[in-house]
């Protein structure tokens, strides 16, 4: 699966691999003594943040709401 920034795809792949292993083998088994993928994530995140900025994707300032959290009040 690609990243939003073409240049970040390889960094994403490395991070995903690390995360998926930790998630399945440690986290879900209740061993969450810390995420070993922090450094990989930082590198990947810097790249993604740059791509998001360049592509002007409006992720900032958006209040994230699930369906039960109020939109139903603005019924049309």
């Amino acid at each position: 699966m690609n990243s939003v920034g073409e240049a970040c795809t390889e960094l994403k792949r490395e991070y995903d691999q690390c995360f998926n292993r930790w998630f399945a083998e440690k986290f879900l088994k209740g061993e969450n003594a810390g995420d070993p993928c922090v450094q990989l994530f930082k590198r990947y995140q810097l790249c993604v943040q740059k791509a998001i900025k360049e592509k002007d994707i409006p992720i900032e300032g958006l209040e994230f709401m699930g369906p039960r959290k109020g939109k139903a009040e603005n019924s049309s």
Partner: protein
């Protein structure tokens, strides 16, 4: 506005379903999702894992719909927030589109929990609120989306050789926008 909800039972334990849910892309059943990025991820003080992801999706809009909506833009973005609680065995996921919001908003919420009577099974409850704005065809489009959500929610497949590769077509905006372009996704039946 259209509100839709559903429940589905998977014949697999919660852990297996959650692993699959976290890695459900790339998904040959849903080729409209072209990119997935983790924007932020952290553990809270209760040991729950929060993930904020950005999904990039490519629409397959027929030209007539493009003309009505007045846009030729086919790439749209969805923001997704999930919380996994490994102790309570609960995963909750909310997603909403963050582009084309002047035309349509789709808010979806999914909750995965173990089946109350059988720990070898997992229950997914799913709800979505769809609002198409300012378009004369809005009620038609909303119904089309709700129908598509309804049929996609039951599409479960096993792919690859690993049992975790359980794929559920459940992220609404991709599903229904693909369906608006009936050409794109409706061929992915099994």
């Amino acid at each position: 506005m259209k509100i839709w909800s559903s429940e589905h039972v998977f014949g697999h334990p919660w852990d297996t379903v959650i692993k699959a849910a976290m890695r459900k892309y790339p998904n040959p059943m849903n080729p409209c999702v072209v990119g997935v990025d983790v924007i932020d991820r952290s553990l809270d003080n209760q040991g729950r894992l929060h993930s904020h992801r950005l999904l990039s999706t490519e629409w397959g809009l027929p030209s007539i719909v493009k003309a009505i909506l007045g846009t030729s833009r086919t790439l749209t973005y969805i923001k997704e927030h999930s919380v996994v609680d490994p102790v309570e065995k609960k995963m909750e996921l909310c997603s909403t589109n963050i582009t084309l919001t002047n035309l349509v908003s789709v808010d979806e919420r999914l909750v995965y929990t173990p089946h109350p009577e059988n720990p070898e099974k997992t229950v997914l409850t799913q709800e979505a609120i769809i609002t198409v704005k300012g378009v004369s065809l809005s009620s038609y489009l909303e119904s089309l989306m709700a129908n598509t959500i309804s049929s996609n929610a039951r599409k479960v497949c096993f792919c690859g050789k690993n049992s975790w590769a359980l794929v559920l077509l459940n992220t609404m905006l991709k599903a229904q926008t693909c369906r608006i372009g009936p050409i794109v996704c409706t061929t992915f039946y099994f």
